[in-house]
Symmetry: C2
Subunit: 306 residues, 2 copies
Amino acid sequence: METMRGVLSPVITPFRADLSVDVPVLAAQCRWLLDADVGLAIFGTNSEGNSMSAAERAEVIAGLVSAGIPAARMMPGTGACALDDAVALTRSAVKAGVGGVLVLPPFYYKGVSDDGLFAFFSELIERVGDAALRLYLYHIPPVAQVPLSLALIERLLGRYGPVVAGIKDSGGQWDNTAALIERFAARGFAVFAGSETFLLQTLRAGGAGCISATANVNPAAIADLYRHRHDTDAEQRQQRLDQVRKVFAALPMIAAMKSAMAQATGLPDWTRLRPPLVGLSAEQQATLRSTMAQADFRIQFPRAAA
Amino acid sequence: METMRGVLSPVITPFRADLSVDVPVLAAQCRWLLDADVGLAIFGTNSEGNSMSAAERAEVIAGLVSAGIPAARMMPGTGACALDDAVALTRSAVKAGVGGVLVLPPFYYKGVSDDGLFAFFSELIERVGDAALRLYLYHIPPVAQVPLSLALIERLLGRYGPVVAGIKDSGGQWDNTAALIERFAARGFAVFAGSETFLLQTLRAGGAGCISATANVNPAAIADLYRHRHDTDAEQRQQRLDQVRKVFAALPMIAAMKSAMAQATGLPDWTRLRPPLVGLSAEQQATLRSTMAQADFRIQFPRAAA
């Protein structure tokens, strides 16, 4: 089981009018990302993963595999507040052959102890009981409001070794990402930045890559920076990525990416979000169109593939 | 379908060594609460409700009903981040004949709009599609971090009338509870305080009662204040309740209540919490024993009933 590296995307999820997941459209999106060498962090925050039940997520994985999407390139979000949900989904994902799973801490209770979080991850790993499990921790305090401390990671690594394969750091604090790399990367622990804004910095410090929302709309250029990280134009590439990111970060990001994808593909599925999230207003859509034009950015999705 | 009133408890949940719910022990706890005229807000925050999957919660309701616990006295927590989970569980609870359901907003995403929350509750109500549904909103910003605004409630009441039957206000801000009562109580909307500390104040202002954690350990005295709210000794009763509450509020409350119940019943089930929560340390247990003694408080659970 190799550790995952490079650029992954929390794949946005297309919904039909009844809010069910449109698996064929999702599969086409996955294929496009894979063509750009971007891995599939399905069911992430930007995928509205927690707005899908554990059973539904397991079905979507099965559907994607049936559609020919390689499970080894998937790193599905399999966290849940209820241990049973997390165990059932993680177990089925590992059986399907995923490259890894990205696991949130249980996020209902706040201010919980490291002992409690250790117990959760520990029960999860032991109940799944599969040597093929590669668990990537998901640190996203701005949303989950439950941070994962260095001390907790140390303890998990000490107990479970390579099963605890890495982390996505979506805290937005470079100091924390740097500390994770410094302390754990030499042991093969893969540290992913939560945004391509930190991609070059992360790679230079010894991190594994990034798992970034905007890789949904700008996959090729982000993956290109990963490939060209040692080239003399790497800084310029990073700057260009940052410009594009700003276009989407200035708006509710999931809705903005879906709106842009709807325009690029002509598919109404992409305009829909599951509650409690909502699509862009007409005004926000106009802003998006104009800032995309100003940044000279277009989504390179081949319309025929939709 | 009558609106629920009076005192309810988010019933604490006993777990076996494998962390499964011990339904017979839970049923005994429910019977004891009902004997004190305390209603059953099972699967609340203090029940570790979100640490149980939707399917598991539905099974527990069925188990309690089989054990003879009247469904009409239950107000189970049926909220979930995923609409599908919330719909499935709410539908099965209503079919089981519950008096109402207590529904959290989806709590993963923060800073969501009233439009998005309205869409969530709206989809939930319409997909459940059962005239017997009585939905009580669960406002608990300190934990869920997703508040429910007066404007949202106004909109839900305007659209769904008596189906939106009330609210539990666990925000801890009296001004908000007062505003809810002033604005909505005359329309039959039941406002429950989230703690017995506000019980008398809530009842005097025109609220429906309280749904309080410490009703798990002090049910009879809290229900007594409800019954004697017009009596001259009501203030004294309130002060006595506040003293007892302080004993448990000074410690991690769920763990403290379970520890006290383990002592009162001799059942090890009560010492267990589901991760990410943990039981009291030995030091905390000693503190609890001494502060309970100082406050001259003992749990009145009949040991034979365990």
